[in-house]
Symmetry: C2
Subunit: 260 residues, 2 copies
DNA sequence: CAACGGCTTTGAGCCAAATCAAGAAACGGG
DNA sequence: CCCGTTTCTTGATTTGGCTCAAAGCCGTTG
């Protein structure tokens, strides 16, 4: 549920990129299969683990993963089980939870499509740290531990790409959070406008205002008020989706101001 | 600035772990140098990139890094420069910033001891994406790009350990944020108490209440009020640092409730 | 034991922003 | 061009939690 907010902004500008080599490989498949492979690639790229992988990596990855359709309510693994691999959710929802001594369940998180779970168990002690169970009929990609680790050992560049993807994501994520936690709505809006404007002095909003509001972590009413306030201060000029920046310096000051 | 809040909780239980092998290696050094190596290990473990590395990895890592003492204000690199390596801050503070077309600087973030910067440039296109400049006399560890990548290629297990550390950190970080963003103080407090209690029904707070307040992302006044409110609901019983849990079910409900 | 300083608790007030409710504008299809 | 629907704006109200200020509660130390 919370992923939506942040992940949306982080991933909204991800591109589909298919190299010649990939196309050649794809030609071994029927059209239908090709579409499946591309779909899977797009899905995998949604995850920070794989966001930075090139086409070759993607192909190797898809060669080792197994599809699993699971019905709602089927226990995937239990806490303490030996971890045989990890999962990516392709569709549906999976809940990951622990059980209290009295048998009450405590949900750790709900995994949405594109999300991974049990991936830490692969790198750690090798035991699943919780229970997992789909809360809707779901399609999962399963990556067997040994095969996956062998692949990483064989193709060290792929591991390096994964490190790169993770650390870049971490950086973006952290700054996203910092904005949300330490800056008020005007500051966030100002930052957004400046970034979007670049060197220009007019911006065209690429999304609806209510969508923008949600991207900025607020609601449409508040966004509307904030836009009006900035207009009244002769800082910007709003007409529909077109915004003209009248006072970039003031805007920049605003964008850097922390609430305290 | 914001790191303090989250990082504190994430790292507060990191341990120092020295294997026999490490000690043997260490015996090649004078006592003074040994202390330096251990200090550096502790520093590096603070960073998610290296948090999961074993002693061997740490040794290799420290063999390839160079110490650099830099005075306040010295430009470390500029946007667009070819990235020759990345940095870890050992002491001091470094600001990373961009320049707007009009020459106004826009600070992206301030890096504190334990933090890395320019690490993404190593894995990406190879150009520094911003400017970096110490805002206080600082000690930095510099990891040359080529040497570092070669090391990762040679020792694929080390790369895998890094992936593990990063993804574990990401997981913790995300759930931390989720708590902070989507749960109110009572829910966060309830979650904290339950986790601390385990199977027991009394908890002994390991830190002062004001410290706890800051760990939960609030202030002592609010924590105090929240504790009283929960007491009045006969959910817990507070006396000094000892808290007895009267109604674990209610507490669990509270901990899982999202604000909406 | 009295004075001091560090925590903790209480109360009062304030503020940003969410929510609720209701118009106004824009849009799109027939 | 009109009418229904969505999107946007505006106002009123509510709220969680922070700040400020003052007082209570210790343990310490001279």
């Amino acid at each position: 549920m919370f992923c939506e907010v942040f992940y949306h902004r982080l991933y909204s500008n991800s591109r589909i990129f298919v190299s010649r080599k990939n196309i050649k490989w794809l030609s071994n498949f029927s059209l239908f299969d090709k579409i499946l492979v591309m779909e899977k690639t797009m899905l995998l790229r949604k995850n920070p683990l794989f966001s930075n992988l090139n086409d070759d990596d993607m192909i190797s990855l898809q060669e080792i993963c197994r599809d699993r359709d699971v019905p709602k309510g089927e226990l995937l693994f239990s806490e303490g089980d030996l971890a045989e691999g990890f999962f990516i959710v392709a569709s549906g929802r999976v809940k990951v939870y622990k059980l209290s001594p009295e048998g009450k369940e405590r949900i750790l998180h709900i995994v949405h499509p594109g999300g991974a779970f049990a991936e830490a168990a692969i790198f750690g002690d090798g035991l699943y740290p919780a229970y997992a169970e789909p809360i809707a009929a779901s399609r999962l990609l399963f990556f067997p531990k040994k095969t996956f680790l062998d692949l990483l050992h064989t193709r060290s560049q792929m591991a390096i790409n994964m490190i790169g993807g993770l650390s870049r994501f971490l950086r973006q994520f952290a700054s996203q959070i910092e904005e949300l936690t330490f800056k008020d709505v005007p500051a966030r809006l100002a930052g957004y406008l400046l970034e979007l404007a670049g060197d220009d002095d007019t911006v065209e909003l690429p999304v609806s205002k209510s969508q923008l509001a949600s991207n900025l972590g607020t609601v449409s009413e508040t966004l509307s008020r904030t836009l009006r306030k900035l207009s009244e201060e002769n800082c910007i000029e709003v007409s529909g989706k077109t915004i003209r920046i009248l006072d970039p310096d003031l805007l920049a000051d605003l964008a850097e101001s922390y609430k305290e």
